[in-house]
Amino acid sequence: MANDTSADFVVVGSGIIGSLTARKLALAGASVIILEAGPRVTRGELVARFRNSPRRSDWMSPYPPKAWAPHPVYQPADNGYLVQAGPYPYPAEYIRQVGGTTWHWAAHAWRNVPNDFRIHSLYGVGVDWPISYDDLEPYYQEAEEIMGVSGAPDTGSPRNKPFPMEPVAEPWAMRRVRERLAGTFPVVTNTTARNSRGYDGRPACCGNNSCQPICPIDAQYHGGLAADAAEAAGAKLVANANVYKLEHDAAGRVVAALYYDPDKTAHRVTGKTFIVAANGIESPRLLLLSASDKFPHGLANSSDMVGRNLMDHPSTSLTFDADEDLWLGRGPQSPSSINTMRDGAFRAEHAPYRLDFTNISRVDGATRALIADGVYGVELERRLRHSAARELNVKNVLEVLPRPEHRITLSDQKDAMGIPKPEAHYSIDDYTRKGHERSKDDFIRIAALMGGSNLRFSKDGDFANNQHICGTLSMGNDPATSVCDGWGRTHDHENLFLASTGILPTSGTCNSTENGVALALRTVQHMLAEQAGAAKPR
């Protein structure tokens, strides 16, 4: 096996979580290697591909996967990488390249609300986290200062220090929504990692409205920046290194990561501590792929919980025409939301949710819809103008409860490298469906307040996915029901840690990235404190 290298810490995955983990370790003086399955990319080439794509609303079009590091794509056709076992499809999207999936995101960087950590105790559903909001609060702040986060003053997540910056200017459409819903629904600016001023060498948002698939000016934080920061801090990043197995010794300690380069030549990287940070699907896949005689069900899997409890945030939505021109598309794509249904006694009965207003320009979607309807000429122009100006869309972001039967397993099918593909087993349960039903009342009231007409609910039974993959590496105090402890250390392997949104034991109502980053920063603090022999941080 070629090119043996070694480091104190081997991080698998260069996404925002892996890279910020590596950065913090490297800043503390540790030797760190990051292994990334996919290639290096530059913002420029992504922007060029986006501008050159005929599918402007296909956010994966600038990110074609490499054969040696496949990821799921669904347009123009499903590439079949993420095998669907059903009964409900789970068409997750993620990106395997240096910097990972946050190259395209809406930059939502929410904290949980404190009760999200105790839903079993409080509401008799789901599970409690092994840590509390207060345990995580300083690391939320650390993440927010790295990423340059701003937000509304009170969305239910108390803070000890202010946001590092002011929110981006409110787009006109969002201002009108806020004004017209005032008194019934408080519409507030979203908590996002998007610059409202120059921050850390990056410019302020100037409203390109292409946050997804790519912010063309790096006004929003992303994993590519985190990877750069990790390298600047001294971490060594190896791209095109598709890790397919973790090796262990007789004592169960992980000793090496094996990866294929694009020619399928195998390499072996040894280390003292291993951190799997390859997202909520690829991470459990790797643990399962690493099965051995000693661990026949895969690493960290004595509980059989690896890959289970798959969660995300399904969404249903309402589109309608307001009675005034709003012209969605100016400013960021997802600027404002309603946060009053994130917590409450109702959580015993149905899913809590956030209500998110899209601010994505309607021009592309409306044009395609009108042309598909055979509209042309003067009528096309008139109706396109009307739709672009008046259309408004509000969606819910629903909590999903952990269920062991919702899971990622290894498929019988293999990818181009001969490695078993991941397979998703998923469904939408009644808890989530009831949340959806409840939110429809809100949709209708919102439409009424906006003078809405032509109400179009998303198709009954259809839930859009939000790519907030969590649960598959759940942390918990009980080794029989969880994969890792509250520090991200696997129960089964003393030197194997998990840094991923996969370790979130419940999904809450907010995008998972900031939770994953904050937990990882806390994990690093713990590792460094352990090494220094100092008292453990909270």
């Binding site: 420029g44 060029a48 050159n52 120059g198 060498g201 410019p203 750069d228």
Partner: protein, 467 residues
């Protein structure tokens, strides 16, 4: 008794003298009126002392900034009134010597990275006001930055004595009664505290400003400070006084250009905070500076180009596998068009500038174009922040050259060129130290000549003796 009285009287006199000495020593602190301190602060801003004497994000005037020069890095000193690490022990006269004559309190000579040849023009009153400000209103910082260590022979500070004899004109500003008050004020500021010529005048082999080409353009590290004489082609003759004042105030003037690099810093630290009257005075004076023409230039830097695009060559065409082969239009599409728009026209409200009719693409010297692509434009004033992102991380030397040449062809001066080697050099900091070696070589040559002369004379003597 008499003796005692005499002794007593003597003591009294001594005590009085001592007291008055004390009083004199403390005079600036005690006597400086708030108005004078305030005026001193304004003058310190006009002089942009902070540009060199503060580290970005550090304590004001605490020193420590390494200033790159062709002969090595010069470390700016602490000029806070700290008695241990700054200039807290300086008398007014000592302060004056440093400011206007380049001599420290200990008698050692300053390097002319400190623009004392310009500050020499500052009036006695203004020197006193500056002194009052630094002594009274600046917070002492009791930490001294590391000393400057230049290579031989420049580490011999006494060499500056000879340099000063040649290049320091020790006379304060003299009004020109034939000119307006505004012109005189502008000349006083421009040639004195604002020290425009420090960057904008070319330097001779001994690193002194070339007075015969005043404001004719000079190199500042990796940046080029352009010709700002009154010439309508090569200088700012085509700018109105208002446009110049706007530029100094805002760092940009629509249809002309925008400040970047060290000039953006000068705007942030200094010009932005000056009065309209002073900015107009500076503009008036600059527009009167004798015109210098670069014969290679055929039209003003801001007068090139027109909106255009090459989208038909790139839409539907995949990016090449080899990143170095990406074309100019593709690089523009990927990196520039988001802000400067498809046809280089900028945003509809001018907030994001057009690339044609923009000095950034009009000059024969393309160092600033390369530097702006590498490092972007950052302002520390209001509005703060990154007004253009840096592409140092994203673009290779070849890509910057390809892009730069495309921009020049499409929107700017098509005769100007960017070379990949130039980009590499500027990316690395430019840092050619040829001057150190040239001077050492010159010194060696002199030594060799002297030795040769001595040997020759010895040989001649021997020949004389032998005959």
């Amino acid at each position: 008794m008499i003796a005692a009285t005499a002794a007593g009287r003597m003591l009294t006199v001594l005590a009085a003298a001592f007291a008055s000495t004390l009083a004199f020593a403390q005079a600036p602190a005690a006597a400086a009126s708030a108005d004078i301190v305030k005026r001193g602060e304004y003058l310190a801003i006009a002089g942009d002392c902070t540009a060199c004497h503060s580290v970005p994000g550090g304590k004001p005037f605490g020193g420590g900034l390494a200033i790159p020069t062709p002969i090595g890095e010069i470390i700016a000193t602490n000029i806070t009134p700290s008695r241990s690490a700054g200039i807290g022990n300086y008398s007014l006269a000592q302060f004056d010597d440093a400011l206007r004559r380049g001599v420290r309190a200990d008698g050692a000579h300053l390097y002319p990275a400190m623009p004392y040849t310009s500050y020499a023009l500052v009036t006695d009153d203004d020197v006193a006001a500056l002194y009052a400000y630094f002594m009274n209103a600046v917070t002492p910082v009791d930490a001294a930055p590391p000393p400057t260590r230049l290579p031989f022979p420049f580490n011999v500070r006494l060499s500056m004595l000879a340099w000063n004899l040649l290049f320091l004109h020790d006379a304060t500003f003299k009004r020109d009664p034939a000119k307006s008050d505004q012109w005189n004020r502008g000349a006083y500021l421009s040639r004195g505290l604002a020290h425009c010529s420090t960057c904008h005048s070319p330097r001779n082999l001994l690193m002194a400003e070339d007075a015969s080409r005043d404001l004719g353009g000079g190199d500042v590290g990796t940046w080029f400070a352009p010709n700002v004489t009154s010439d309508v082609i090569s200088g700012v003759g085509g700018w109105s006084e208002q446009e110049l004042a706007d530029y100094l105030r805002n760092g940009r003037t629509a249809g002309k250009g925008q400040a970047s690099g060290p000039m953006a810093e000068a705007v942030d630290n200094s010009f932005r905070h000056m009065t309209d009257a002073d900015l107009h005075a500076i503009a008036t004076y600059v527009k009167s500076v004798p015109a210098l023409r670069d014969t290679a230039e055929t039209r003003p830097a801001y007068a090139w180009g027109a909106p255009a695009d090459d989208l038909d060559t790139i839409r539907g065409v995949a990016l090449p596998d080899d990143a170095e082969q990406v074309t100019g239009p593709q690089l523009y599409d990927a990196n520039c068009a988001t802000c400067h728009q498809a046809r280089g026209q900028g945003s509809f409200d001018g907030g994001l500038p057009p690339l044609f009719h923009n000095t950034a693409l009009g000059r024969a010297d393309t160092n600033n174009l390369v530097m702006v692509i590498l490092d972007g434009i950052v302002h520390n004033g209001e509005p703060a922040g990154v007004v253009m992102p840096a592409f140092r991380r994203d673009l290779s030397d070849q890509q910057v050259a390809t892009l730069g040449n495309y921009l020049l062809q499409r929107f700017g001066n098509p005769d100007a060129k960017v070379a990949a080697g130039q980009v590499g050099k500027l990316r690395a900091g430019g840092g050619s130290t040829w001057i150190v070696w040239a001077v050492r070589a010159a010194m060696l040559a002199v030594v060799l000549l002297v030795v040769a002369a001595l040997i020759g004379r010895g040989a001649r003597r021997r020949r004389i003796r032998d005959t």
